[in-house]
Symmetry: C2
Subunit: 235 residues, 2 copies
């Protein structure tokens, strides 16, 4: 893990850019000893410094948690492949023509998961012991990556997922997850049909899984759900 | 409101039994000035001092909230009518024979609401100003009473409902509720089919409504949902 710039906020949060195995990321650490580490994965079309990701990081450090995020494959500062471009073009064309883009999105998300999971595992190898506890937080494409990651990764103790519907691959991964899960859905999400979201929540094997649904679209998760998810991970 | 006994817990919560318009109840007040008043309605077959009601009251007073509860009609220390006995016998017989008791329960709940709503409104007349803010908390039969109560009662600012499914009457009342609502469902509730619970959540007109669903049966609402509901009402 090769760190480049370091800055410290007025609240004492230290923010460090890094590149790890060729993947750019950011590590935020609270002023004192962290009580845990949050793997924070952004959604599709976002990047490691998207406003929601930065805001989430500062909420977490205020609760004593360290946070690490990565640019997802083909996002942020990372190179896009011809496959990424082809998926983007096809998904855009499908939406423009009024068709159902969800099978293509699910296929692309599965590709993203296959590429990103070893990257997150390598980050965990490099940052194993921050407080001894590890949480995952990623919704939408962040969950498409995170659900199979947490299913495969015994070092993660709790996870915040959501804004995504059931696919065969995600249902199978969810059925392997037994750590506590917070699952966020938006009740008027035009990208995630309610039934698909509820079916995925239903698939988690976690004895402690909690569905929190609120009105509004894909991007409208209310502020107090963010605070509540921070508190969930801090516990 | 005629108070009888008064006691104070080691934490400084004062508990007072009362009878108001012939209805027995309990008022819990925190040590300092209350930040608000919670109308706490018990579920079917319970009473004003059911363990869950007492525990909820102490959680609320620890957050600075006063709490008032009443014995619902035909519950606790209150007289049962021939109609109550007939409903009880018919509901029991329906369940014993393996039939669907839910239409009978819905009918009985509507009767309970019609009787209890004026009682709660009269309590609010007698205890109007405790901190200036009023919340309602009742699940199951407590919601059967509370949803039409809050729809009719402009003095209630926020409500915790749940463990109940859609009926025409409840959907109509929910559509008149615009104050913030927390709605609790249990994912494996044999008394409330998922779809019926989700349909009722969907019916609330409240721009700020949040569904929290957890695994387990009707009586298994997790402890941290109770804490979270207290914090919701305290805000």
């Amino acid at each position: 893990m090769r760190f480049s710039s370091t800055s410290t906020s007025p609240e004492g949060t230290t923010e460090r850019d890094f590149v790890h195995d060729g993947v750019p990321g950011v590590l935020w650490t609270p002023p004192g000893d962290p009580v845990g580490l949050v793997l924070s994965a952004h959604g599709g079309g976002q990047h490691k410094r998207a406003p929601g990701i930065v805001a989430r990081a500062h909420r977490c450090t205020a609760a004593g948690l360290a946070v690490v995020t990565l640019d997802a494959p083909a996002h942020g500062d990372r190179a896009r492949t011809a496959t990424d471009d082809r998926f983007s073009a096809e998904i855009r064309a499908r939406i423009t023509s009024g068709g159902d883009a969800s099978p293509l999105v699910a296929e692309y998300n599965a590709l993203q998961a296959a590429r990103a999971i070893p990257e997150w595992q390598s980050v965990l190898d490099a940052l194993p012991g921050t407080g001894g506890r590890v949480g995952f937080w990623g919704v939408s494409m962040g969950s498409a990556i995170g659900i199979p990651l947490v299913a495969a990764e015994p070092r993660v103790d709790a996870a915040v997922f959501g804004l995504i519907g059931a696919t065969d691959a995600l249902v199978a991964a969810a059925a392997a997850i037994t750590v506590p899960v917070r699952f966020l859905l938006q009740w008027d999400d035009r990208l995630v049909p309610r039934d698909a979201g509820l079916a995925l929540f239903d698939a988690f094997a976690a004895p402690r899984r909690s569905l929190h649904a609120n009105p509004g679209g894909h991007g409208d998760v209310p502020d107090d759900e963010i605070s509540s998810a921070v508190a969930f991970l801090a516990r």
